[in-house]
Subunit: 229 residues, 2 copies
DNA sequence: TATCAGTTTCGTACGGTGTAGCATCAGGGG
DNA sequence: CCCCTGATGCTACACCGTACGAAACTGATA
């Protein structure tokens, strides 16, 4: 039984890896929202000290980009894609939706200018490949892609907001709804919103999965353009 | 000439108003991005001390909600709307786009669960009123609205990102592009992105205003549904 | 085996954030 | 007149990202 002084300190912890750092960050974001992802917190999660993380990333921004690209891998589908372009896009869209449902913090990264990584690029390439058999030139394909992407972005953002991301701090969801309730009710009463009010009253708003329907309208529009206007 | 002690302090500053606070915050966000909007900064802008702002709002979140509703007023259009539903929606969409161009920080608020205020509700009501003459039931109108809104959200988010919001701190835009350049070039070379690479090389990506075109596809899709599938 | 170079780890510190708690003070109503 | 209500502002706390430099450890070389 030696004294503290002669005993060696704990063996050096197995070296961290960038992958482990990113995985820990993703775990925190999944469980408690993107707001809980701080350098200190992720380090603690790994049993490391704060500044240690800066051996693996240069800035927090980098960590966010790596997180985004990590989950971008989850939306890739195994090739070959369905030959029918609509089926292919529907498949990709479904994946995208699932991934955002699993990692709702993704939508917060959208408006944060995070750099696009290799998996993000692979995803774009897959979307482009859906148009392969159609004989459209690059510009047209790009325009179709843009319209499709824009719809998808809007949809997943709205869905994530409606479902309510895990949040840290701030007012929680039920509480917020409770506060909003009387205000909304007042608006219904006062008659300034004759179209909106009954929709809220009857619960038309919300509780309607418009994913495939809305998407099919966008694809119909593209198809119309495809078949010569 | 009296001494400091006997001279009265500066006359009490004219009382702040909530409107002034919100206007100052919007000004800061327009000029330097949402990241520059801190309680301290907005207070300084008004010549007030930090904690004074908390007489007008309860939390910073409130200030953000008020800012959002402030600019939501800018997207309202004078009634009556064009009788043609497509023309009405196009008008509203154009307004929405202009407002986001003027206040690009709006897109950052989208994914931040800010409460919707009276002007936001008025805006929704105006959009709903576009469907008035069509004889569609509430559920259908709501679905059309959702699809239209989703496309618009995605579009304005993408446009704001492509144009580059004013940012404080962080790497600036040109610098980021310069860093991304060799990485992108490498991807082009290595052949993993046969569809995407030539689009970047030829500049097909970006520099193509797809606003009305993409929107018209969405409206075409809705119109198809309208005319009985 | 002893030394050196290069990484990885981490203690400390700085300047920023939102905001709780309390003291101060002005103006208006009894 | 006084008192009270609400606006104002100081101080302080806990948190953030991260610059800087020292320490500890690893593997390669002499």
């Amino acid at each position: 039984m030696s004294s503290v002084w002669s005993r060696p300190g704990p063996p050096r912890r197995p070296a961290l890896t960038r992958e482990a750092v990113v995985a820990a960050a993703v775990g925190v974001a999944d469980a408690e929202g993107l707001g809980a992802v701080s350098i200190r917190r992720v380090a603690a999660e790994l049993g490391a000290r704060t500044m240690t993380l800066y051996s693996y990333i240069e800035r927090k921004e980098d960590l966010l980009a790596l997180m985004a690209d990590e989950i971008a891998a989850e939306v890739l589908v195994e090739e070959p894609l369905p030959a029918d372009w609509r089926a292919a896009l529907l498949l990709l869209a479904g994946r995208e939706r699932e991934v955002v449902r699993r990692h709702p913090w993704r939508v917060e990264l959208i408006s944060q200018r995070v750099a696009v990584g290799p998996n993000g690029l692979r995803h774009v390439e897959q979307k482009l490949s859906a148009f392969d058999g159609l004989g459209v030139d690059r510009l047209r394909a790009w325009r179709y892609l843009a319209a499709f992407n824009d719809y998808m972005t809007g949809f997943v953002v709205r869905e994530a907001l409606e479902r309510g991301q895990p949040r840290q701090g701030g007012v929680n969801e039920a509480e917020r709804a409770a506060v909003a309730e009387p205000y909304i009710r007042e608006l219904i009463e006062n008659g300034e919103f004759p179209r909106l009010a009954p929709m809220i009253e009857q619960g038309v708003a919300g509780a309607d999965d418009n994913f495939e329907r809305g998407l099919s309208w966008v694809l119909d529009g593209i198809e119309g353009d495809l078949h010569g206007r």
